[in-house]
Amino acid sequence: MRLSSLLVNIARFIFPFMLMFGLYVILYGDVSPGGGFQGGAILASAYITAYIARGERIFEMGSLVLLEKLLYVLIVALALVSVFTKGEAFTSFIPPLEPLNVRRLFLIAMNMLIGFKVALGLTSLFSAFVEQESVDD
């Protein structure tokens, strides 16, 4: 794709801010609006701006999909840890009598896993569209 230099320079400027905002939304998902899914979508948009700035794909699609599958297994595994601590699946594995700052850890870990999984999924979706693009080399 041929893009104007105005668009490329603005994409270069805005990329770190988008990355930081996405990470902020993921990390503060349990106390403020947003969460894993929203932050992951913002990270995927940041990847698109990086693609515009560089004009070529950055990640290999096969590894993206593989990493996404791995993260899915990790999410299920983290949710199943509570079987050993509480005897009940798909709840927080930290006992309810712990202080709030400790109980937050489960939500933060879950939000991070979901956020990176969503970011990788949407990124591989975008890559699938882009890689079919060029017909003549």
């Binding site: 794709m1 939304v25 609006p33 947003g34 969460g35 899914f37 929203q38 979508a41 913002i42 995927a44 948009s45 698109i48 949407l122 979706l125 975008f126 569209f129 882009v130 079919q132 693009e133 017909v135 003549d136």
Partner: protein
């Protein structure tokens, strides 16, 4: 008060999306539609949904649409001809008749004409990746153009070919594939 105003604008833009014909304008309007929807979610006190809508609806989906549209700007012609019927005439000779017709067709729709001579490895690869728009070959001294029957461009091409007796257009069904 603000929500009623926003709802009215959203309805207006929805009508504009349906009415417009230029694809790039539609994508931009869709992006504005999503941004206004996100504002509406915020007004109705759902900031979570607003964040998701702003990130996906107004940035991610329009970008995918733009990539898909820019892919559509090419008109791929696959030929099995040996003579100069489709030659572009770049080496000083006159351009072929078929080339002139297809070039005029592409200029009308703002497409980029891509000619792929058959018998090369490249042609097979392109055909495997995205099936060609038109397939040209010769049979009993007659040129035959084969294309998918459903598209509007084919209808236009059949009008252009009325004056040329020795060129015929064969339309295949939409579900038929070359492979």
């Amino acid at each position: 008060m603000l929500d009623i105003l926003l709802l009215l604008i959203v309805a207006l833009i929805a009508v504009a999306i349906v009415v417009h014909t230029d694809l790039f304008n539609i994508v931009i309007l869709y992006s504005i539609f999503s941004l206004l929807c996100a504002t509406l979610y915020l007004v109705y006190m759902a900031p979570d949904v607003a964040l998701a809508e702003a990130a996906i609806g107004s940035a991610f989906v329009p970008m995918i649409f733009i990539v898909a549209i820019s892919k559509q700007r090419e008109f791929i012609v696959l030929s099995r001809l040996e003579d100069g019927f489709l030659s572009a005439g770049s080496d000083g000779s006159r351009p072929g008749r078929g080339y002139v017709i297809l070039k005029a067709l592409c200029r009308q729709y703002g497409l980029k004409l891509v000619l792929c001579p058959s018998g090369e490895e490249k042609a097979c690869r392109i055909l495997a990746r995205s099936s060609a728009d038109i397939f040209v070959y010769e049979e009993d001294g007659e040129y035959i153009m084969e294309g998918k029957g459903s598209s509007l461009i084919m209808e236009r091409l059949s009008h252009m070919l009325i004056d040329h007796e020795d060129i015929s257009l064969v339309l295949t069904g939409d579900d038929e594939n070359y492979d």
